[in-house]
């Protein structure tokens, strides 16, 4: 069953001679529970694709349908609300809220939505990501690996339709990167989440169920792991 689909996605920056086609007709289907890796060199358009899929930016043309909803039709604030309910983000630079502690960071998207926090569920996530001892700590008191685990927990906590990870190991050393990655994969499976990850590292991409290669804004190959 498709939970995320992109149809003929175009994103053009600039005008006239300066025009750059960051995305040039991308079609993509992601099934529920799937782990998809998108690989490509820098400048290939993979981050732009992720921004479109996550509703951070709007495509020039084409549509993105998440969980049956077309994001192109949403207004700014509606898009924001859609994001916090349907999408969990994990960024390369962790992007935790510096003034909030670990636990508060994790439940922030839920609280922003005015929903009641399912404490048991959140505790389970925290346990899975081995953050139980750090709940009160502020982001700047954590190591990079720990910060990224908090980000993953935050992405999972609101039970989104899909988790988008943008180079989640880019700022980590290779050992920590591997640990974080396997935790990401394990927890996505455990909480039956769909995971879309961007990376330029082929080795990391091999962990995914399916790998898409993108170049110059187009999908150039697709391989599935059996």
């Amino acid at each position: 069953m498709s939970i995320l689909s992109a149809k003929n996605l175009m994103k053009v920056y600039g005008q006239g001679e300066n025009q750059v086609k960051a995305l040039d007709g991308v079609n993509l289907e992601v099934n529920k529970g799937e782990f998809l890796a998108i690989v490509g060199t820098s400048g290939s358009g993979k981050s732009t694709l992720l921004h479109m899929l996550g509703g951070l930016d709007r495509p020039t043309s084409g549509e993105v349908i998440v969980d049956g909803k077309n994001t192109a039709s949403l207004k700014d604030d509606e898009l924001t609300i859609f994001r916090r309910r349907k999408i969990g983000f994990v960024f390369q630079a962790f992007n935790l809220v510096p003034v909030l502690n670990v636990y508060e960071n994790i439940i922030l998207p839920i609280e922003l939505d005015g929903e009641k926090v399912d404490k048991e569920f959140v505790e389970e996530i925290i346990d899975t990501l081995m953050l139980s001892s750090k709940k009160e700590a502020l982001p700047n008191q954590l190591s990079g690996g720990q910060q990224q685990r908090v980000a993953i927990a935050r992405a999972l906590a609101s039970r989104p339709a899909i988790i988008l990870a943008d180079e989640p190991t880019g700022n980590l050393d290779s050992k920590t990167g591997q640990d974080v990655l396997s935790l990401l994969k394990v927890s996505a499976e455990k909480f039956s989440q769909t995971l879309v990850m961007i990376t330029h590292n082929d080795e990391i991409a091999q962990l995914a169920d399916r790998v898409i290669r993108i170049e110059d804004g187009r999908i150039v190959s697709e391989s599935e792991r059996r």
């Binding site: 951070l56 604030d77 924001t80 916090r84 809220v97 909030l100 508060e104 922003l112 939505d113 005015g114």
Partner: protein
């Protein structure tokens, strides 16, 4: 349905707040300063109003809302229990003394309870309220009149007429013991002599036994508010089963409303006249507050933009982001406003006397209002200022695009600029740095320049008040001595000036020239024909009441008249005719008082008596209403009339004029002519004189000051010196208020500068470190930063100078239009004094910021991600 996300937003707002100490301190300081200005303004405005009201109430003798009059003890008991009445005070009046020594102002012998005494402005200087049978309290002037020193326990004999009946049998004489006294208030309509309750009860019984009416007991009441007092009083009466309508009924109760509360027109007029300046001032304060609070928040949002972008990425809506900014500002308000209210109230209380001195309200009516309106109003204005100031930074945070924020750096628009090779000279770099954020730079320029412009304007404005120009029109004689009535604009008809007093004064001063002015006792009238009479009635709005007929087709109308000695006649402004004829010993001449507009046109209608016309002037002892078959009309008793020839149209300088006017034609006589024609009716009003030298002027001033003081409010004087002091008070008020304003706005400007420089340097931490890493010495960095500071301050100075030069002529023209005694001049002196101070600040503040920064090593600073 979703309420609890507010809690989360607030939590983030609070945490952000904690993380921004420097910004908070500066914002709170700005809030406190602007709140001080608002509160001071409101305190002064409301205190002026309250003082004005108090002076009215003192003239009326009480501050209570209303009075139920002539009650029996039983009625008092029923009425005072009524729920509508918030407080009450009882007074029982035994009698009145209107014979010597209380001929000028009568005394009332009564019992007042504590509340009533308080409402009657009785504040004992020493002693206590009468308790023992024969104890008495009174004001210091009554004591003086009765020939008793203000010593507690002294025995005083007092005679008064029961119920004010002027018969020998009604006279009661008793000896009392002084239990207390208070400072005499010349505004009070009567002397209060208060005795004990026991004495009044006892005497009341005796009086009734002797066949007099029982003493009059009044119940003074206060309601919860002064709104619709008559309605409330009616309601109370109805609830208690009384009526105010049927005078014959035994349940009839009279009541009166304190006219101070019905003269609402007067007090409204005062606030309306003050409204415009208050509004203008408020706008200035709002603008000042906006300049800094906006700048502070704009800088803080810009430097935290990635943080807001991140919040948006993970699902914070624009609205919620705006709320995060607004909540932070409101928390700072909660801290800053109370402090500002407190300090501002104190400042207002200190400044109010200075403002009051410039009005006709006497200083002892000074009431510093504690109305909640001051605090609520100032707080609302302050909150509005803050909300306006943070609305744009809030929108900026709310609009942040998550993708852009992820790569946002502050020098975002840098790439748009064309690159000019300026080399790496320190000054060139400093100039380039100013261009990086133009909005920020402009705000600092405006905010410093504003205070400089205001400073210069206030300096010129205050200096522009020309005391000589003012004195020239206000004072025409070195000294002017008259009865208190004259200075209260009531002429001298009821209380003529004692010529003996003037003799006593003249013996002690050296005068160069001098002369008397006379008023006419009784009712001065002129006889006019139909067209004049009709015009007069029209000017009164057709509401003149009853017609009168002099019998020969002519009518009498009220006028004001003044007789002048030659010395004063010479000071008249003659528009037409020959005023010197007034002093003609044989002639019977009269001059018509008028005034001219700027182009010399006289304010006289076409029916006015022409020069050479004959005008009949008359004085009546009293007016009565005659009602007969011909209808109702006014009749005049004891008429004395005489014909005069109009010799001139003259302007009388206010200082030596009658100081009041009528709707008809007011007239001037030569004193001899007036005395001859009107005999006893011509009474001395004031005596004016000049002294030959400055030395004699000082002596006379000292003598008159003492002499009038000891006359206890009967005789007063005006002098050039006292008028000059009055003017200086007026001038000082403006320098004081203007000084406070400059100080606060200047402080706001410096704060703004401080914040911009600090924030600028801190946000460029990495950049500066990189510069040093690639070879810029610490000294060069400091030079660059100090140059930037100097550009800010000196630049603001230049802008302010330019604005002032353009603005001063406009200001001068406007002020000369508004105040005739203003002579505008041009000066930029304040700049000369203030610029060095500002320049030094421009050097020191960047230095401070840098020295704080350079505590960390270059490597540490480069590593830190901004």
């Amino acid at each position: 349905m979703k309420v609890n996300n507010k809690k989360c937003v607030r939590k983030i707002a609070m945490r952000c707040l904690m993380a921004n100490k420097r910004r908070n301190i500066i914002t709170i300081a700005a809030i406190v300063l602007t709140a001080i200005l608002f509160t001071t303004l409101f305190t002064i405005a409301l205190s002026m109003n309250a003082s004005y009201e108090k002076s009215i109430f003192r003239q009326l003798g009480g501050s209570n809302h209303g009075t139920f009059k002539d009650l029996t003890d039983e009625q008092v008991e029923v009425l005072e229990g009524n729920g509508l009445i918030r407080a009450y005070g009882v007074r029982t009046i035994a009698g009145i003394i209107d014979e010597a020594p209380f001929t000028k102002q009568s005394a009332e012998v009564s019992y007042m309870d504590d509340t009533c005494a308080e409402w009657s402005f009785i504040k004992l200087e020493e002693g206590h309220m009468p308790q023992a049978y024969n104890e008495v309290i009174m004001d210091t002037e009554s004591l003086r009149l009765l020939g008793a020193e203000p010593v507690l326990g002294r025995e005083i004999e007092i005679s008064f007429n029961i119920n004010g009946i002027s018969e020998p049998e009604a006279k009661v004489t008793d000896t009392f013991v002084l239990a207390g006294y208070w400072e005499y208030d010349p505004l009070c309509p009567a002397h209060y002599i208060n005795v004990s309750e026991d004495y009044i009860d006892d005497l009341g019984r005796t009086a009734v036994e002797r066949g007099y009416d029982s003493f009059r007991t009044d119940l003074n009441v206060m309601f919860s508010s002064s709104f619709d007092i008559p309605g409330k009083m009616e309601k109370v009466l109805a609830a208690c089963g009384f009526t105010s309508e049927d005078a014959g009924s035994e349940n009839y109760v009279r009541f009166g409303v304190n006219p101070g509360f019905t003269m609402s027109g007067l007090s409204d007029g005062l606030s309306a006249g003050m409204l415009l300046p208050i509004l203008a001032f408020s706008l200035l304060v709002i603008f000042t507050g906006y300049l800094i609070i906006y700048n502070v928040f704009q800088i803080s949002v810009a430097s935290d933009i990635r943080f807001y972008g991140l919040l948006k990425t993970i699902g914070t809506t624009g609205k919620q982001l705006k709320r995060i900014i607004r909540d932070q500002a409101l928390v700072l308000c909660i801290i800053g406003i109370p402090l500002g209210l407190l300090l501002g109230y104190g400042l207002g209380a200190v400044l109010t006397p200075a403002v009051l001195k410039t009005t006709t309200i006497s200083l002892n009516s000074l009431t510093v209002s504690a109305s909640p309106v001051i605090f609520i109003g100032a707080a609302i204005f302050e909150i509005v200022t803050v909300l306006i100031s943070v609305s744009k930074p809030g929108r900026m945070a709310g609009k942040v695009s998550p993708v852009e924020a992820l790569r946002y750096t502050e020098a975002l628009d840098l790439h748009k600029k064309k690159r000019v090779t300026r080399g790496a000279k320190v000054t060139a770099m400093a100039f380039a740095n100013m261009e990086r954020n133009k909005k920020k730079t402009v705000l600092v320029f405006v905010s410093i320049a504003l205070s400089l412009v205001i400073l210069n304007a206030v300096y010129l404005f205050v200096g522009g008040f020309d005391s000589e120009k003012w004195l020239d029109s206000q004072v025409h004689t070195d000294f002017l001595v008259g009865n208190v009535d004259y200075f209260k604009f009531q002429g001298a008809g009821n209380n003529p000036l004692d010529a003996g007093e003037i003799e006593a004064i003249r013996e002690n001063v050296t005068e160069e020239a001098g002369g008397f002015a006379y008023d006419v006792a009784g009712i001065p009238l002129i006889k006019v024909d139909d067209p004049v009479y009709d015009g007069f009635v029209a000017r009164l709005g057709g509401d003149y009441g009853l017609a009168n007929d002099a019998g020969d087709g002519m009518h009498y109308i009220d006028c004001k008249a003044e007789g002048m000695d030659e010395y004063l006649v010479e000071k008249l402004q003659v528009y037409e005719g020959d005023a010197s004829l007034l002093n003609d010993a044989d002639g019977k001449y009269i001059a018509i008082i008028t005034h001219a507009d700027e182009s010399g046109n006289l304010y006289l209608d076409e029916n006015a008596p022409k020069i050479g016309d004959t005008l009949t002037f008359a004085v009546a002892d009293e007016v009565e209403v005659i009602s007969d078959t011909a209808g109702e009309r006014v009749g005049f008793n004891g008429l004395k009339e005489s014909e005069f020839t109009v010799c001139a149209y003259v302007g009388v300088p206010t200082a030596i004029g009658p100081r009041r006017g009528s709707y008809a034609y007011d007239v001037v006589f030569g004193s001899n002519t007036l005395k001859e024609a009107m005999g006893e009716s011509a009474v001395p009003m004031f005596y004016a004189f000049d002294t030959p030298s400055g030395e004699e002027e000082l002596k006379a001033e000292a003598f008159l000051s003492d002499y009038c003081e000891s006359s206890a409010g009967v005789i007063e004087y005006e002098s050039k010196a006292s008028k000059r002091a009055e003017f200086d008070n007026f001038k000082n008020m403006f320098s004081l208020l203007g000084g406070v304003l400059c100080l606060v706005i200047g402080f706001v400007g410096v704060l703004n500068f401080f914040n911009t420089v600090m924030a600028g340097i801190i946000s460029r931490k990495n950049e500066l470190a990189v510069m040093q890493a690639i070879g810029m010495t610490g000294k060069q960095v400091k030079e660059m930063l100090m140059t930037e500071g100097l550009i800010y301050t000196v630049g603001s100075g230049i802008i302010a100078l330019a604005v002032s030069i353009a603005f001063i002529p406009v200001l001068n023209a406007a002020c000369e239009e508004m105040f005739w005694f203003y002579s505008g001049h041009f000066s930029v002196m304040p700049f000369a004094y203030v610029m060095p101070v500002i320049a030094v600040l421009g050097l020191i503040i960047p230095l401070m910021a840098y020295s704080r920064l350079s505590r960390a090593s270059i490597v540490e600073r480069i590593r830190e991600i901004g």
